[in-house]
Subunit: 338 residues, 2 copies
């Protein structure tokens, strides 16, 4: 029974999340009951939705319980098994949380999924070929409903969701424009991810300035927008939406820490007859097989080159997570565990 | 050739619209060309969308041209005809504008529509059995997508759109809640229009207070909302929307006069996975026959009792219109012309 380091949520943020909200705890992994497996985690996924769960207020997800291990997606391998369907050495993806090991009742449908690492590196099952990739797929295909020749825009374009969105949008013949923070990310978005253009929002002090940049990058206006950030970026994009445009609202990371960020001009929803729809991908499990198949092919054929920021060791998780909320990561944020 | 009083848009509002934006002009009706008819207007419809057209900025409608007769819906009768399909005495609905007479090229499809006043009074073709009624029908049926037992809410509930929305929603087995200004309107909404409840927004100084009132009136939350006003009312409703709720955005009358009113907490769109959709009914002509048939039956059978505010004479139109923007009307705002 190996020692198992865990990170618990110790207390809730009063405003900005900070390292002292978390607490490192060392536990022992328990003996397995019939049907259970012990998974050693290779990688933990850090994702913006976790910030929402740290609050106690109304949200779509149950708040993260205090004094418990932070939830989160993990990839790893089976190191002990009391379940006939899993054997030692199997590579699996699951929701193991911020810890080195997890004991999983593998009889529960969907608790663990075996993955094939022949063509796709294990870590990508937490990113491009995992929840973030399917998130991009659902938002693009089902909500932005792209037609060839239209213009699709995504914020946080260099991240796990944004990069998948770009490859999926290009594959559908759309002009694809990213918004990201800083010249390095913008360069990567265009040169490595194949976006047609990328706007550095940090060069713009207000929505009017960003709106001008969008006008240049999207000469035919914007037909679909995938929202990861909210705030000024959303205000600017709204001014450039074409009539009957579609907005998929996936994240509002800019407003997670403090008072909600207002939307400056909601009447544009009427003026441009927009459809604005919020979603969370876990409520649309029916699309996962189709989405993962397309995403796996894009990665295996080199059409989607996901980038990863890897923090080293569980102890580094809180700092990496806080950095993610400020956009310090570059690509999918992971923590290398064991 | 009768004398024809007209009201022109003389200049654009700098902030709040005011009477001096309009100018009364007396013209002569011209002689008819082949295919044309001369219509004497009995009633002019005043509608909130007209305020948007008075501005020069980006909107869905072409701005109203300066120095031209204000556009608007009219009902009246044919008094002279050079068109075989229309004869003197025919009752017709059209877009005659703010004037006593209009010359219409009746060969244009949709320019004039003959109506039957056996069961439905002529003026109602500008309200419940006209554009406002179809607006309510489209927003409810196509966007709010009501299921029996769900809760539907509409703002400006005593108005032409709101009252039709209520009858249509009740006919679909929904709990139907209105928001209106003042005790008289709220009483009418419940007692005459058959809503289950009506909230007087004037009793609430902020969105939090209105939100509490909505909680009481909508114990199972809100599944569909038809937005006519924007501002504080929208902020309050958003806090009470159920997961997967639908919002039809038809008007934002609260923000027409000045700087756009912000939306306080757009992240609720994500948190509650809402679908928010703006529309204008003239872009959905395909639903008009079905909608008008249902609305005509509701009026003819007394299930929808539309109320009208009638201003007397063209000269009274500007003041009545400015009152409409402030909610001073009670029911459909009309101007009696000739």
């Amino acid at each position: 029974m190996p020692q198992n380091k865990q990170i618990h949520l110790d207390n809730r943020p009063s405003a900005e999340a900070c390292a002292s909200n978390f607490k490192l705890v060392v536990a022992q992994t328990p003996a397995l009951a019939p049907g259970q497996v012990l998974v050693r985690h290779h990688f933990l996924s850090l994702d913006p939705y976790m910030r929402g769960r740290m609050n106690d207020g109304k949200s779509y997800a149950t708040p993260q319980a205090l004094g418990q291990t932070m939830g989160g997606g993990t990839v790893g391998e089976v190191v002990e098994s009391q379940n006939d369907r899993y054997k030692v050495g199997d590579k699996v993806v699951g929701m193991g949380g911020w810890q080195q090991y997890s004991v999983v009742d593998a009889t529960q449908p969907g608790a663990l999924k075996k993955v094939d690492i022949t063509h796709v590196p294990l870590s990508h099952y937490l990113g491009a070929v995992g929840m973030p990739g399917v998130t991009a797929w659902y938002g693009l295909v089902k909500l932005c409903a792209p037609k060839a020749g239209e213009t699709m825009v995504v914020s946080a374009a260099s991240g796990a969701v944004g990069s998948a969105f770009g490859a999926l949008s290009k594959a559908r013949g759309c002009r694809t424009v990213g918004i990201a923070g800083g010249p390095d990310k913008c360069k990567y978005v265009v040169e490595e991810l194949g976006f047609d253009a990328c706007i550095d929002y940090k060069l713009h002090k207000d929505a009017a300035s960003l709106s001008n940049a969008l006008k240049e990058a999207c000469p035919k206006g914007i037909d679909g927008y995938f929202e990861n950030v909210g705030g000024m970026v959303l205000d600017a994009v709204l001014t450039r939406m074409n009539a009957f445009g579609r907005i998929a609202v996936c994240g509002m990371i800019a407003g997670y820490d403090a008072a909600p960020l207002p939307l400056a001009n909601p009447s544009l929803i009427l003026i441009s007859r927009l459809k604005v729809e919020g979603f969370i991908v876990s409520e649309h499990m029916e699309v996962w097989p189709e989405a993962l198949a397309e995403l796996g092919t894009l990665v295996a054929t080199g059409k989607l080159k996901p980038r990863e920021s890897v923090a080293d060791g569980l102890e580094a998780a809180p700092e990496a997570f806080l950095g993610l909320l400020k956009g310090k990561n570059f690509g999918k944020q992971l923590v290398k565990l064991l």
